[in-house]
Symmetry: C2
Subunit: 466 residues, 2 copies
């Protein structure tokens, strides 16, 4: 929703903002405006100003002023999102959390960490690892993306199949509500049912219900050992059937990624691992106690063979593990060499529908005449369908958008969801009524309205106008 009543940041509002923040924490400079006007959607949407607050109190003051003067405020982590969540589509102020990046505490007795929102996910992972601990959520952007952004989008990653998503690791939050009140939700305890679950309402709300200023996160033990496998298949369906076979046998790998031929061909240029002609690959990792890992590897090898795998390879040392991960990690950059624009859609289907999804997507690719490369978290039914188009070719882009809509229709018809981890933002906004009924959307809007009556926080996202 983007209201007509929202207003630009006038010269007098600029002055009021200057009164709230130290000189170096606020900018109206063109170069800063430009730096904070993009995300991973490749769209450029400039804000009118950029703030770099350091405390929840500063954020509170900004939001109170925004309510008074009616200008939009958009919180931003690292801008790695795929759906436009951090783009200031209604103008206004970007509120960057990059100067709030303290790891406040790593509590090795209670297995928790308290962090500020600007902490980079990978930095937190490295810090807890030093204590033998583990923060599992691992969006592919983990080297850049922030915990605050991960919370806003409920980020997932390859390990979600076993370890769950960001939501499953957030115990409590400090949040500045759109109207400026600083509240605490949840806490340091594993359980807690006093009042409504505001913690999980904020997680995944795409920065529209509050600005997270602190998070209490759950940590777990580093698994004793890990084992990585790469399995080749002559048919994509065989690979998909292997995924459902593993799940049906109730084995839970820590990673269960599928990569299709279109992706493999691109990756081959980087890796030279002889993957170019392979129809499909599964990348599988299991972790846990050494004894059970060995047993899992044997069981998985058996299931792969039952499903006509053509090659099964288990990494024998850390260098080989690195090489196998390189296959997965190089897909995204590799695809970008194919076409200038990657429409990355993170659809999810019930795992038994994987074969139908993947064959359906192949059909769409043929019908619409666009290249589609599919890969991703097959273990939880979450496939990244990448529709590749030339961004300067209008016809190609139009075909791509038609293919996106086809893929969403297919997904919903299979009982799936159009977003597993990227969120709705602006790019999926036109499609949410494919998945959500009018009354569901209305209930969500009523909650938004209740917490942000003037509609100043990240407007123009999730809900189509009207």
């Amino acid at each position: 929703m983007l209201r007509d009543s929202l207003k630009p940041i006038t010269t007098s509002v600029q002055k009021e903002l200057q009164g709230l923040l130290a000189r170096e924490n606020l900018s109206f400079l063109r170069e800063d405006i430009l730096c904070y006007s993009y995300d991973a959607t490749n769209k450029i949407v400039p804000p009118e100003a950029v703030a770099f607050p350091e405390t929840p109190e500063e954020i509170s003051a900004i939001l109170k002023l925004a309510n008074l003067r009616g200008f939009p405020v958009v919180a931003r982590g690292a801008g790695t999102g795929f759906t436009g969540g951090s783009l200031p589509v209604g103008g206004g102020l970007i509120l960057s959390t990059e100067r709030m990046k303290k790891i406040i505490e790593i509590d090795t007795d209670n297995l928790t960490a308290e962090v500020e929102p600007g902490v980079i996910t990978g930095d937190l992972q490295a810090a807890v690892e030093k204590h033998g601990l583990f923060y599992p959520p691992d969006p592919t952007s983990f080297k850049f993306s922030t915990i605050g952004g991960n919370i806003a989008e409920c980020a997932g990653g390859p390990r979600a199949v076993k370890y769950g998503v960001t939501r499953d690791y957030v115990l409590g939050l400090e949040v500045v509500l759109p109207t400026g009140e600083i509240i605490k939700t949840g806490g340091k305890t594993l359980k807690g049912v006093v009042g409504y679950d505001l913690t999980r309402l904020i997680v995944g709300s795409e920065g529209t219900l509050g600005v997270v200023t602190k998070a209490q996160l759950k940590l777990i033990a580093q698994p004793e050992t890990r084992k990585m496998m790469l399995v080749k298949f002559a048919k994509l369906e065989d690979a998909a059937r292997t995924v459902t076979g593993i799940i049906r046998r109730c084995i839970v790998p820590s990673t269960l990624e599928l990569i299709d031929n279109a992706s493999l061909r691109c990756v081959e240029e980087f890796t030279h691992m002889g993957l170019g002609g392979v129809e499909a690959v599964l990348l599988i990792e299991v972790d846990g106690r050494s004894e059970s890992v060995e047993k899992d590897v044997l069981d998985i090898e058996g299931i792969c063979k039952e499903n006509a795998s053509t090659e099964f390879r288990a990494a024998t040392d850390k260098f080989e593990v690195r090489d196998l991960w390189k296959v997965r990690r190089s897909i995204s950059p590799a695809l970008k060499r194919l076409k200038s624009l990657k429409l990355n859609e993170d659809v999810v289907v019930p795992r038994s529908k994987l074969v139908e999804l993947i064959t359906g997507v192949e059909q769409i690719s043929k019908e619409r005449g666009v290249i589609i490369a599919s890969f991703g978290h097959a273990g939880d039914g979450n496939i990244h369908v990448n529709i590749m188009v030339d961004k300067d070719d209008e016809e190609d882009c139009a075909k791509g958008l038609q293919a996106v809509e086809d893929v969403f229709k297919l997904t919903v018809s299979l009982g799936g969801t159009i977003s597993g981890e990227h969120g709705v933002g602006t790019t999926k906004m036109p499609y949410i009524n494919m998945e959500l009924g009018a009354a569901t959307i209305e209930a969500m809007k009523r909650i938004k309205e209740a917490l942000d009556p003037r509609g100043i926080l990240n407007p123009g996202k999730i809900f189509p106008a009207g």
Copy 2:
């Protein structure tokens, strides 16, 4: 919140209700009124009528009428709650889900189950077990309590330390909103971030934000094997230290229960296992692959010895396992023989604060002159503190209530929460502002108001008036 504007069910409203439901699905009989006027708090609060709807559409029609005429509606599962959540404190209609008890689907490919709200938790567990599957949430009332009630309260149980609580197993819901709209949230997929997380907002909202009419639940694999241990300690602190020792060593038992001397003395009458003189017992279960279970048992035995355990016993057959569980399961009934009223408070503290909580509770028991028996889910810091009073002795009851307040103050001062799994209902309502700030409560009330503007659904719960 209980509004003055709520109205009784008049004769003409009775007739309107009769128009909505089959004759056998609605009762104004005194015997029915009585049967639906209690829960586990021992309080008697009679409704004005009882409905037994069979479809979401019937519930929708009832709620629309309730909005029109202003009478309260309170959904009810099995009435096993400890905090008054299902008591019709504002009068009105009890909406029993007991005729909506179909297990609609157990999907062995996707590891999900779809159920109606009246399904008994234990029945679902038995049904999925036949397929080698596992629905972990196990509130002690699991033989009677319903999935709908478990969802309303976000029920936990002994296994929560490893497997999490009800929230972690709810993938999607069909909900009738207070205003009568039937909505769907989430779905059959493991991931999904389209719009706000209404699923988790409904879970634990104590029947105040909607009536659940279907739930899509996540199942997991039955663990290959389980091993049960009972460990005795000469000091309560040693047992508590063992708990934190196990957690710090990053072992995650499937059950890690602590039982104090006051509880053991009562239990001894039932079990005759020589526990009467023991200061504290830990009941520990580990599960998983056989090889890793054996390793866990050895590690745990070592940690127990480091912390001065006086006896370590691992069950060798299923009969012994049954006996050890009997120790835990007989505590609640056994305590009731001690005094007629058990004020069961399910406080939670960060696990490292267990010793402080337990010694603090002992101190409160001495100071207030009331018997307090503590036991429960030590592994996640969730101790059931049972303040035992004679319900016909006013002075004893007053002392008990003072002790409750002391325990809550202590808990909050240790960074804990006053409810881990029972909810607020009416019994903890006077205390929520010990834990939640005014702005947090205000945000929750705004959400309640947004979804239930007339305040007809389960009024008088969670939020103190004013």
